[in-house]
Every structure is written in structure tokens, then in C-alpha cells.
């Protein structure tokens, strides 16, 4: 029997609006998949369809090989942690944690034992007798996670689990959730709009836009090889520089001559990009950290003037104007430029992405 979650051509319509369209995903046992995308892209709707909280318009959701489409939520045996925690306000933390065990027909001894385990694991022992309204934000979040992991469901679903926490707590909980999930070896889906959350917690990331999956890949691949300009721009902080350019003729092997706002620049590229005909409109994608500064102008440099300087601690962010456009350039803190200074930037080889007119990666 197949294990994990299989999603096939999953579609959701609200009247004329298509919220989710033809989503295909496989999540294996023990794998953590992050659904990442801007708000309104359909990621939460997808999650809710897996949970059974939304009807499926078309397509199929299977969990452990069993088709879930017509199985009611209480019978699906999936655990979910909600964005706003959705703790039961009228009962104590202890009873909140015990609630899911009712459906499992656990004995009082077992219940007590499970609560003690989970409470210890998530540092909730001290607040077991309190009501949800008496808890701090971080504690509420831990109760929500605790309620999800207290039983052994077929999969775990998290809807923006960390969005309400402050930065410090967020980092702490990220590690904690990752640690907890690693032990559970169940398929897990986490919905988030925070790329750091996705990059740090996920085994694989599915980037969604307007109801469609744009790319599914490991955090490393999604950062290093974004499939189109949307993914490229969405992942990474500060965002990737997406520079429109026109291909000029006379390219040599593995080099492409480009006209960037009037400057002629030669860029190292792959074979596919080399074959682009002269006159094609392309978008050049360069991450802010993959520039080098050189002192001399050459045919491989792009020149610009330093406009705004933002020190970020270990690194410094420079906003560089190359005439029309603003480029984000991140350099080590030891690199010093002054505002108004003219600098020459060279792209690091292999770290330059060429996207065609439609925004897809040329490869």
C-alpha cells in the first residue's frame, strides 16, 4: 500500500473563481513539504482540502493510499495546527491536549501519560491548568502544536504555524517544530508565506502562485535554480535582481553579449542560453550576493553609482543605480563605498540566470 500523501490534479472553484488549479504533489512519510506563496495564492485552500475542511471541486487526495475525497474530516485521522491556534477556549490546556485522544478511545492512564510527555517536550507542564486566554502567544502556539502531535495521525498539517510569533520566538519554535517532526516520520505539510520558514524547515518546497504550483524542489535547488522569474524573485532576501536585457549578436562559447540599458556586457551562460538569437528580450537574474566589484571597466562589467547604503551587520546592502535601474548588491562588511561613488560590477560565473521573454529559465 502506498504511504504518504498523494495529491492529483487537485482543483477548487468558488463560483467563477478558481482558487486552486491542477495541483500535483507527493509527500512521503517523514518528509516535510512547505507550500510557499504570497497571500491568496491558494496554499491554505490546498491544505484545507487535504484536511477535508473544503470540498474538492476536482482531482484527488490520497492519504496512505486511501482516497480521501468523500471521507469526512473526523474520519480522516489527520492532525492540523491552525494559524490562529484555534485552541478550545472553554477548557484548560490539559483538556485541550486531551481532546484529540477522546476519538482514539484512550484510557485515562494513557491520556495522562501522553499529556505529561507532550507537555514536557513542549515546556507546557507549568501551564497545564490554565485556560487558553491566560497564555502568552508562544505558549498558545506550543499548545496548538502539542494538540497536533499528541496522537498518532496519518499526517500533519500546519497552517502558517509561526506567523503570529515575534522574531525571536519564531526562530526558537522553528527549531523545535523541526526537531519534533523529525521524530514522527509522518508526512507533513506546512503552509507559509515566509520563505525563511520554508527554507529552514522544509525537505522540499512547493512555490505556489495564483492557484498553481510553480516549482517543487529542495530548499537548495529552489534557491540555486529557480525555474522562472516569479520563483526567482520570491525566494531570497534581499530579492534577486531581475534585469531586462536584449541579446546582441556575436556571442562566443559560453558567453552571451547583452545590452543592459545601453551598457554592453558579456555574461557567462550555459549552452541553451547561448543559442538565443540576437534581438531576443531576456531577463537576467542575479542574486545580490553574487556580484564582484572590480576596479577596471571591462566588457564583463556593469557600471553604476552607489545610491543608498544599508548596513546589515555582517554584510552591507548597496543600492546601485545603473542609469535607469536600481540594483541590490550585498557585499561583506569590509567593503566600503561612499554614496555617489561609481563602481563596476561583474557577475559571478554560474550564478547568473537567464530567463526568456515568458519569464521561464533558459536551460
Amino acid at each position: 500500500m502506498a504511504s504518504g500523501i498523494q495529491i492529483r490534479q487537485l482543483t477548487k472553484h468558488y463560483g467563477d473563481l478558481t482558487a486552486v488549479s491542477d495541483v500535483d504533489l507527493d509527500i512521503d512519510d517523514g518528509e516535510v513539504l512547505c507550500l510557499l506563496g504570497p497571500s491568496g495564492c491558494g496554499k491554505t485552500t490546498t491544505l484545507r482540502m487535504v484536511a477535508g475542511l473544503e470540498d474538492i471541486s476536482a482531482g484527488e487526495v490520497r492519504i496512505d493510499g486511501e482516497v480521501m475525497n468523500n471521507i469526512a474530516t473526523p474520519d480522516r485521522n489527520v492532525a492540523m495546527a491552525f494559524q490562529f491556534y484555534a485552541l478550545y477556549p472553554s477548557i484548560t490546556v490539559e483538556k485541550n491536549l486531551a481532546y484529540p485522544l477522546y476519538a482514539e478511545h484512550a484510557t485515562p492512564d494513557q491520556i495522562e501519560q501522553r499529556i505529561a510527555q507532550v507537555a514536557e517536550r513542549l515546556d507546557l507542564t507549568a501551564v497545564l491548568k490554565r485556560y487558553p486566554s491566560q497564555l502568552a502567544e508562544g505558549e498558545k502556539q506550543r499548545v496548538a502544536v502539542g494538540r497536533a502531535i499528541i496522537r498518532s495521525p496519518r499526517c500533519f498539517l500546519f497552517d502558517e504555524p509561526l506567523s503570529r510569533l515575534d522574531i525571536e520566538l519564531r526562530q526558537e519554535m522553528r527549531t523545535k517544530i523541526k526537531e519534533v517532526l523529525a521524530d514522527l516520520s509522518k508526512p507533513t505539510v506546512i503552509v507559509t508565506h515566509d520563505q525563511i520558514e520554508a527554507l529552514t524547515m522544509a525537505d522540499r518546497i512547493a512555490v505556489m502562485r495564483a492557484g498553481k504550483i510553480e516549482q517543487v524542489a529542495t530548499p537548495h535547488d529552489i534557491f540555486a535554480a529557480p525555474i522562472n522569474t516569479f520563483v526567482a524573485g520570491f525566494i531570497g532576501t534581499p530579492g534577486m535582481n531581475l534585469i531586462p536585457a536584449v541579446v546582441e549578436g556575436g556571442s562566443k562559447k559560453n558567453e552571451l553579449k547583452l545590452n543592459i540599458d545601453g551598457q554592453h556586457v558579456v555574461v557567462d551562460v550555459n549552452d541553451a542560453a547561448m543559442k538565443l538569437p540576437a534581438g531576443s528580450m531576456v531577463t537576467l537574474g542575479v542574486r545580490p550576493r553574487f556580484f564582484e566589484t572590480v576596479s577596471e571597466v571591462s566588457d564583463k562589467t556593469l557600471s553604476g553609482v552607489v545610491d543608498i547604503i544599508e548596513p546589515m551587520g555582517a554584510e552591507t546592502l548597496f543600492h546601485v543605480l545603473d542609469g535607469k535601474r536600481e540594483l541590490r548588491v550585498v557585499m561583506d562588511r569590509s567593503v566600503r563605498f561612499n554614496e555617489g561613488e561609481k563602481i563596476h560590477l561583474q557577475f559571478q560565473p554560474k550564478m547568473t540566470h537567464v530567463f526568456d521573454e515568458q519569464g521561464s529559465l533558459v536551460r
Binding site: 477535508g52 485521522n77 489527520v78 492532525a79 478550545y88 484529540p100 477522546y102 476519538a103 494538540r147
Partner: protein, 291 residues
């Protein structure tokens, strides 16, 4: 003093505002206070000019509520007033509980499983309360006569239940509307079927709303006069009707007697409101505080 400050919050508002609020409260409460004082006065004290604030209290009025001569020269006899009290308690209590049960189920349905044209149904339900009751009294009276409900407990209880329902549905629905459906979804994911979700998760969250609705419905029903006058019989008569019959008589209005009836009549509503007041305060301010 610090205890006093803590308990009554004088410290925060300051003595000026506290006294001001006290005076306003006293003005509001004065009619009730005057009735209660009158209940303990002799007939002479009741009618004295200027009105007396200090007098020797007497329980005669309370005794004569239950036991008095029907007219001059007759022997004192039981008035059967305890029956009217029990009637009031039974009729108002039952109809409020019924309205609360039906109203809770209906409003949960309206709130969570809206029909096509949900708002229209809700509006229609409310229209029944838009007419002054007196307009409906003749058809209802005829219907009760024909169906044999006239003068029965069932008849008046059904009527009051129907009378309380629109208000209960609207009020309780607003409480259901305010609680997050995420919590119910969470309960479903935790393996609870609809019935358990409703009883274990939803209902406890609207306790305050139920308390507030119960108190308002109780006050309306408890004091209702018109329907009770026309639709109850000698056995099922409620206190407001009997109170009206006590007015008049051979020697003018017996204010002391009337005040004693009213004083006793107030006790159950006072008691219920007092018991539910914590919930009530949360109930009436519901939704006014940002969560």
C-alpha cells in the same frame, strides 16, 4: 479602605465620579426602592403626606397577599396567591427554557449552515415582533378558543415560546457568528463528529450569550400582561393579571398590598439576574472588545 478601593474601584474613578454615579443610580433605583418601602408600611403610613421615610415596618401586607378578607365584614380567607406565583414561575421558566433550546439550535443552523436566502428567513422571523402584540390578540384568542388551548398551561407556554423565539434566535446567532469556525474545524480534525463539536466546543463558548438571552427573555415573559390576561384561566393565571385584579376594590387601592405583591414578584427576576450577572456583563458587551 484599600479593600474598599480594590473591590469597588473608587481609586480609579475618584470620589467625585463615584458619588455622581451613586446619585444617578439612586434616581434610577428610587421607584423600586419606594415600592419596597411601601410594602412594609401600614395603610396610614402609605398615604401620609409628606411621605414617610422612617416608619415602623410591618409584615401585614405580605400576610394579606396570601390571606385576607375578600370584603368588609367577611372572614379572612386564603387568596390562592401562591398558585399565581407558581404559575408565573412555571410558565415563564418553561417558555424561556424552550425558547433557549429551540433558539440555540436554530441560530446555530442559521449561523453555520446558512440556507439560500438566509437573511430573508431571519428577517421574516423578526417581522413577527414588529407588530404591536395587541394587533394579533384577537386572531390568537379565536385560535386558542377553537383549539381548546385557551386557559391551559400548554397554550400560554407555547405562545410565550413563540413570542421569545425571534429575539432569542437573533441574539444567540450573533454570538455564534462571533466565535471562530477554526475552533470547530480543529475539533473535527481531532475526530469529533458534529454533535460533539456543538455540545463540547460551541455551546461553552456562547454561555454568556445564553445567559444574557435568558435574562432578557425572562424579564419580557415575566412581566407580560396582555396575553396572560386574555389567554389564561383561573387556574393558570399569572401574577401580573392577578395584580391588576387586586387594584380597585371597595376602599380604594390598597397600595401596601400591591407593593408587597410587586416586591415578591421582583425577587425571582432579581435572583436570576444576580446569579447570571457575571455572564450577563460579558454577554451584553460581547463583540465590543477587540479580541
Amino acid at each position: 479602605m484599600s479593600f474598599f478601593k480594590k473591590k469597588y474601584g473608587i481609586g480609579k474613578a475618584g470620589p467625585g465620579w463615584t458619588i455622581f454615579a451613586g446619585i444617578v443610580s439612586l434616581i434610577y433605583f428610587f421607584p423600586v426602592l419606594w415600592i419596597i418601602l411601601t410594602a412594609f408600611k401600614t395603610r396610614t403610613d402609605t398615604l401620609s403626606v409628606p411621605p414617610k421615610f422612617l416608619f415602623t415596618p410591618t409584615f401585614d401586607n405580605f400576610v394579606s397577599v396570601f390571606y385576607r378578607a375578600a370584603g368588609t365584614g367577611q372572614d379572612a380567607a386564603s387568596t390562592g396567591f401562591e398558585l399565581y406565583f407558581l404559575n408565573s414561575i412555571f410558565i415563564a421558566g418553561t417558555s424561556v427554557i424552550l425558547a433557549l433550546i429551540i433558539g440555540t439550535l436554530a441560530s446555530y443552523g442559521f449561523s453555520r449552515h446558512p440556507l439560500r436566502g438566509n437573511d430573508t428567513y431571519l428577517f421574516v422571523i423578526l417581522t413577527t415582533r414588529m407588530l404591536p402584540p395587541i394587533i394579533a390578540i384577537i386572531p390568537i384568542f379565536l385560535m386558542f378558543r377553537l383549539s381548546g388551548l385557551s386557559g391551559t398551561y400548554i397554550g400560554i407556554i407555547l405562545l410565550y415560546t413563540a413570542f421569545n423565539l425571534p429575539f432569542s434566535i437573533w441574539m444567540i446567532k450573533s454570538f455564534f457568528d462571533e466565535i471562530s469556525t477554526d475552533v470547530e474545524d480543529a475539533a473535527r480534525l481531532d475526530g469529533s463528529k458534529d454533535r460533539r463539536v456543538f455540545f463540547k466546543i460551541c455551546l461553552p463558548q456562547v454561555k454568556a450569550g445564553l445567559a444574557a438571552t435568558a435574562v432578557f427573555a425572562l424579564i419580557l415573559t415575566w412581566n407580560e400582561f396582555l396575553f396572560a390576561l386574555l389567554l389564561t384561566g383561573t387556574d393558570t393565571r399569572t401574577v401580573p393579571v392577578q395584580m391588576a385584579r387586586t387594584l380597585g376594590g371597595e376602599i380604594g387601592v390598597d397600595w401596601g398590598l400591591l407593593a408587597a405583591i410587586v416586591t415578591m414578584f421582583l425577587i425571582p427576576v432579581f435572583a436570576v439576574t444576580y446569579l447570571l450577572q457575571n455572564h450577563l456583563l460579558r454577554g451584553v458587551t460581547f463583540g465590543t472588545i477587540k479580541k
